[in-house]
């Protein structure tokens, strides 16, 4: 078995684990044992899948030319399966690390300003900027548009990390926005690259690409509104949300 095929197998195993485990913390009581246990399993599985995606992207960029020799447009191949995959893998890793870190350091946000996390933010920004630039330079504005999503995510994450006085329990929406964003990224990859092999005629079906984002963003907005501090005199839902 070639190295790339071995990476694909490991990527599928890790990704499938994450795709299944992802739903348990969403359905379980927030902060309960099942939420934390399965949330960790899903997040570590996606971390592994994202790391393997980065390795596969690097192999596509710098590996032997004979991989998929039938593809003649090598520049487009490098753009989509190299730089954009590298960026999306990095973004998934960034979401996973940040989503766990905001809970771990909820009482000490200054820890998120440390070198380890700032290097991670820098890696996401650098990969997004290069993906966008490369996309524009080869006439693929789609790559630039996808890159803006990651840049917006890092901007809001950095806003939370560096703002002077966030409202109480502000880490809760940060936590589920990052980890649901990780799930959106993974499910989009699964539907558009994995499952699509069963129904290849639908490879350009926009619904395939839109469904994970519609469901994920809907869940994020619902949880964000639910986690807001209650107005005076009203019993709030904020107390129910414990990450």
């Amino acid at each position: 078995m070639h190295l790339f095929e071995a990476l694909v197998v490991l990527h599928v195993i890790a990704g499938a684990t994450g795709l299944i485990a992802f739903w348990v913390p969403i359905a379980a009581r927030k902060g309960g044992p099942a939420h934390r246990k399965w949330g960790r399993i899903g997040t570590y599985a996606f971390l592994a899948a994202g790391t393997l995606a980065v390795l596969m992207a690097l192999l596509s960029l710098y590996g032997p030319e004979q991989r998929l020799p039938m593809i003649t447009d090598r520049v487009l191949f490098a753009g989509l399966f190299g730089w954009m995959m590298l960026y999306l893998g990095t973004l998934t890793i960034g979401f996973a690390i940040y989503g766990l870190a905001v809970v771990r350091h909820r009482a000490n946000r200054a820890a998120l300003r440390g070198l380890r996390y700032q290097v991670m933010f820098g890696a996401v920004i650098a990969s997004a900027l290069w993906c966008g630039y490369f996309g524009l330079s080869i006439g693929q504005p789609l790559m630039a548009a996808v890159a803006t999503v990651g840049l917006a995510a890092v901007a809001t994450q950095q806003f939370y990390v560096w703002r002077a006085s966030p409202p109480p329990r502000a880490h809760v929406p940060e936590h589920f926005r990052a980890l649901l964003g990780m799930g959106i990224s993974a499910y989009t990859a699964f539907l558009s690259v994995g499952l699509i092999r069963l129904v290849p005629d639908h490879v350009f079906n926009p619904l395939i690409w839109a469904v994970p984002s519609i469901i994920g963003i809907g869940l994020i907005i619902r949880f964000t509104l639910g986690a807001r501090p209650a107005r005076r005199g009203q019993p709030g839902q904020a107390h129910k949300q414990e990450a």
């Binding site: 789609l142 548009a145 917006a152 809001t156 940060e174 926009p206 984002s213 963003i217 964000t224």
Partner: protein, 41 residues
């Protein structure tokens, strides 16, 4: 105003992300649809 933006930045980010993703899907839909049409004279 600044405080409102700060407290709702997550919703703003999601609205932006949703607009980008749905915009891309719409763009993709028109690309595929137009690709199947015969060229105009």
């Amino acid at each position: 105003m600044g405080e409102w933006i700060g407290n709702n930045i997550g919703i703003i980010e999601m609205a932006f992300t949703g607009a980008v993703v749905l915009g891309l899907c719409a763009w993709q839909y028109w690309q595929v649809r137009d690709a199947g049409k015969p060229p105009k004279d």
